[in-house]
Symmetry: C2
Subunit: 224 residues, 2 copies
């Protein structure tokens, strides 16, 4: 049972680092979102649009998790956000320790909102808290309706699902209600936001959710 | 460095089991394909179509890897193939040991072709040989063109890429050549088969590849 013990220690160390990250961001009044999804769901495109839309009102930073490349980081940086790149060197998820290191290199006081774009993977990232305020997942409608039941840990661990690429619903002959029903069967409390990062449809509801959460976080930080 | 040592032992045990699986299938004259992809790329739909098309000529079995559910296994079983379901209980990949157990419950002599549908994940499955004859990956064009560079281990470990959902290329304003170029940059020797499991376009080339490989495997088994 050596393996199990080691895994327990890894998880304990992660929880401690996540706790420290969370405290640090709370003190700085930052609302931090851990964004997770399958590869190719459109996380980075959603981030690009969000930075374009909210750039004027919210001071936003991004931590980009990728196996090896900095493609996403470059895309997001082009939008004017402060970006810290983390390469996991092949590991299938970020952990709280590497996020801790990233936070150390950032100007936390100068930001309201932090996106942590996790590695594209519907399994591994669900098990590792990073110290985020909320977990948001992106599900592309092209992935089909069976994903919630097949990857329940991910769907249960997130509070918001951005259901992306709804501009393709018609060609796919899919109904958004069917997707929403499957999500709610696994996580009845999930907030479901149908969006198209390509056309912009539905994105305003996502921006508004971010605005409200950022305001709330700032208020608690001032009060403390 | 206990972690590293343990990991080494895990990998060594996996290699040994993979070797045993490979020998066993060679002896039985079975061509075995490890199918890997992101969640929602269309692996199971491709399998369904393939079973429909080749059911009359090849005796096909399927091992279905999933975290918890048997949804895919039920879909494939409805097509008349012998199916063994493996639930990984949350693990992000199949390994050679669980495949070994699955093989023990199967009538190997009675089959020509075995599909092993791995867990939907572009990272973890690449590291674990199962004893397969070939590795095939499915990439949906909806995932965008940057996947080869972002997940190079997966793209390098496979010999065939089924580029699926090409019926959506026009709506996505994408060019298949761009996708193929990005794949070849990471793995110049990869066989690229553009297909649509929905419309059936391009599937004949995939069936033909399977026929040739099955014939070759059978011949070597007879000779040995």
């Amino acid at each position: 049972m050596v393996t199990v013990k080691l895994m327990e220690n890894v998880m304990k160390a992660n929880e401690a680092a996540a706790e420290a990250n969370a405290r640090r961001m709370e003190e700085a009044g930052i609302f931090a979102v851990d964004m997770m999804s399958s590869p190719g769901s459109g996380k980075t495109t959603i981030l690009e649009r969000t930075l374009d839309a909210l750039g004027g009102e919210l001071r936003t930073a991004v931590i980009e998790g990728d196996l090896y490349t900095s493609r996403d980081a470059e895309r997001v940086e082009a939008r004017g956000a402060q970006v810290v790149q983390i390469n996991t060197g092949g590991a299938c998820h970020l952990d709280a320790k590497v996020v801790q290191q990233a936070l150390e290199s950032m100007d936390l006081q100068g930001h309201d909102l932090l996106f942590i774009e996790n590695v594209g993977n519907l399994i591994c990232p669900a098990g590792y808290r990073l110290g985020e305020s909320e977990r948001v997942m992106v599900l592309s409608v092209t992935e089909g309706v069976d994903k919630p039941e097949k990857y329940p840990a991910m769907f249960r661990s997130c509070s918001v699902a951005l259901v992306n690429k709804i501009d393709l619903l018609e060609v796919l002959e899919m109904d958004i209600r069917e997707v929403a029903d499957e999500i709610r069967r696994v996580n009845p409390r999930m907030k479901i936001l149908p969006v198209s990062a390509r056309t912009g449809e539905g994105m305003e509801a996502w921006y508004e959710w971010l605005r409200v959460e950022v305001r709330r976080t700032r208020k608690s930080a001032v009060r403390a």
